[in-house]
Subunit: 354 residues, 2 copies
Amino acid sequence: MNDSTPPRATRRKAGTHTIHDVAALAGVSSITVSRYFNSPDKVSAAVRERLREIVERIGYVPSQVAGGLASGRGRVVCAVMQNIASATFADLVKGMTDELQASGLQLLLANAQYSQTLEENAIRTFVGWHPRALILTRDDHTPAAEAMLGALDIPVVEAWGFVEDRPFHQVGFPHAETGAQLARHFLEQGATRVRFVLPHVGEDFRAGQRAQGYAGAMQAAGCKVDLATADVEDDFEAGARTIAALAATPAARRPQAIIFANDNMAAGAILHAGDCGLSLPRDCALAGFGDAPISVRLKPALTTLRPARYQIGQMAARTVLRMLSAQPEHEPTPRRELLPCELIVRESSRLSLR
Amino acid sequence: MNDSTPPRATRRKAGTHTIHDVAALAGVSSITVSRYFNSPDKVSAAVRERLREIVERIGYVPSQVAGGLASGRGRVVCAVMQNIASATFADLVKGMTDELQASGLQLLLANAQYSQTLEENAIRTFVGWHPRALILTRDDHTPAAEAMLGALDIPVVEAWGFVEDRPFHQVGFPHAETGAQLARHFLEQGATRVRFVLPHVGEDFRAGQRAQGYAGAMQAAGCKVDLATADVEDDFEAGARTIAALAATPAARRPQAIIFANDNMAAGAILHAGDCGLSLPRDCALAGFGDAPISVRLKPALTTLRPARYQIGQMAARTVLRMLSAQPEHEPTPRRELLPCELIVRESSRLSLR
DNA sequence: TTGTAGGCGTTATCAT
DNA sequence: ATGATAACGCCTACAA
């Protein structure tokens, strides 16, 4: 009765079936069950049917954890977003999950809130998950992060932006160029005084890149760079204040056009213009960025840039999938997927030069 | 030279350090390294310092996969959203990740697009990850899903809604009640003809719950239930069409107020009203749902309901954390966290009865 | 087509 | 405070 060598207590959690349970019920070995899931064609039809029935009956689901450990290839892709709650990143996430779920990959998500340090932390955490690939949404990382990425030996995609000479895959569009595009849109209409309004500090660094593009285009045209930064967090309020300040400025000294770093600021300006006694675009032409759903509904409808947000997420995931199914030739040339960011010209940017 | 028993090729992936590497470098056993990470106070200060240095130097990160398997307690929480790309769910996700990341838990995300079947698939997938907890965003599941949830033996939180008699934790607010609240807001102002406009079919089923609440309140007041459904996907367009149709209706037969199932539809209506020659709220009072950032900026500013989106995500995560740290008394009474959904009265709902 | 042996990197258990 | 040993549940390598 008294075992001389008390066997170790089993650590097995109750209630969870394992591959062995299924194998025992089917009268086969566990490796056959493994094959049933991973390469069904290597299992005879008879056994397959028996297993199907048993799996269905007892509700067995293979453990991704054990499988990932054993095979060394888990089914996780990790992504670091800059602001999950924003429409931009939410659309990116949707594009990614739609694509990844279809391939049986799971997306592990982290939020870096535009902070390099938080991004580094997220990457470090992700390393412990042994992901199949990593999707980032910026291209300037801390040295420590860059070092980890270099050591990772998995596909790394930098999505949203599109810069040169990076060792990682690029999926997105050049932000500076879009800023220049908007500037030229006004310059070509004959404007000389064009202002660019950045959102409140500490936020989206991409806006800064667009501002640089704007500045470059203005200088190239021999015009003054007029860069302003919002003094409130709320983008709508920032836009409203900008337009109020404009109304208080003598017409001769006003910019002829304002480029807002995002559509929300522009919308705030448009919706508040009436209260300030301004009529847009007569008193000032406007443009935004992002093509928010509301933008086409505004009066005047807002000229803006339409980044292919969902498609960028989708293409980032596709790039991952492509690399995963490619020959394991190490260090292939990074892919460069340029996605459109279309200029949508609407009424708000029609310049009436005085 | 020729080994008689050729050893199996090691499966070890190059480039990745293991706990044994660290242990060897420090001249301790691997379990000590494990303790260094999981209960540092059980390791002497000297060893601790030595390990800190080594870990730092070689950039070792413990494998969550191996650890999860060995301990039976991984660091994953899974969540099934209904529409990741919407502001609502994006805010929920942010609330969750903010809270979970702080506790070293990772959020695995899936998107069900308001589909019960997709939700079931997501849950099945998640079961294979052996998550510590599950966060769902609806309370009506397929029987198969319900069965899996019942067998799971981990905390399950149903967030966003707030219903009775569920076996799972509830974190949210009662949607039907909010619909009734808006109806009463107009009834109390003396309205008798109040319409409720649902978004295009196949979308948000919560809108249906709010519509039911509205219908109940109308009937209780002896008024006719006037339920319409948008005929286009785009919410802004749906709102615009609704207001256009209203303009084409003789004033005497028009509803005195319209409750839109979400703020986007209401915004579409407000922004298009001018084009139809209508003045709001004089010709028709309006209300929405969701308190989108734009709503307060519209002219007239939109009366709406403000659900505590971020807080619901946060509280869902907190509920998970609380259950995980609680005594393992099985089957505790499900927690019920009622979060606010405040009525924000603005100009758009000021009824001018004729 | 099926099976055997052993290892994936970590932690639980028991022992010192 | 530290270590030896055996799981955790699955998959790769090799064999039949």
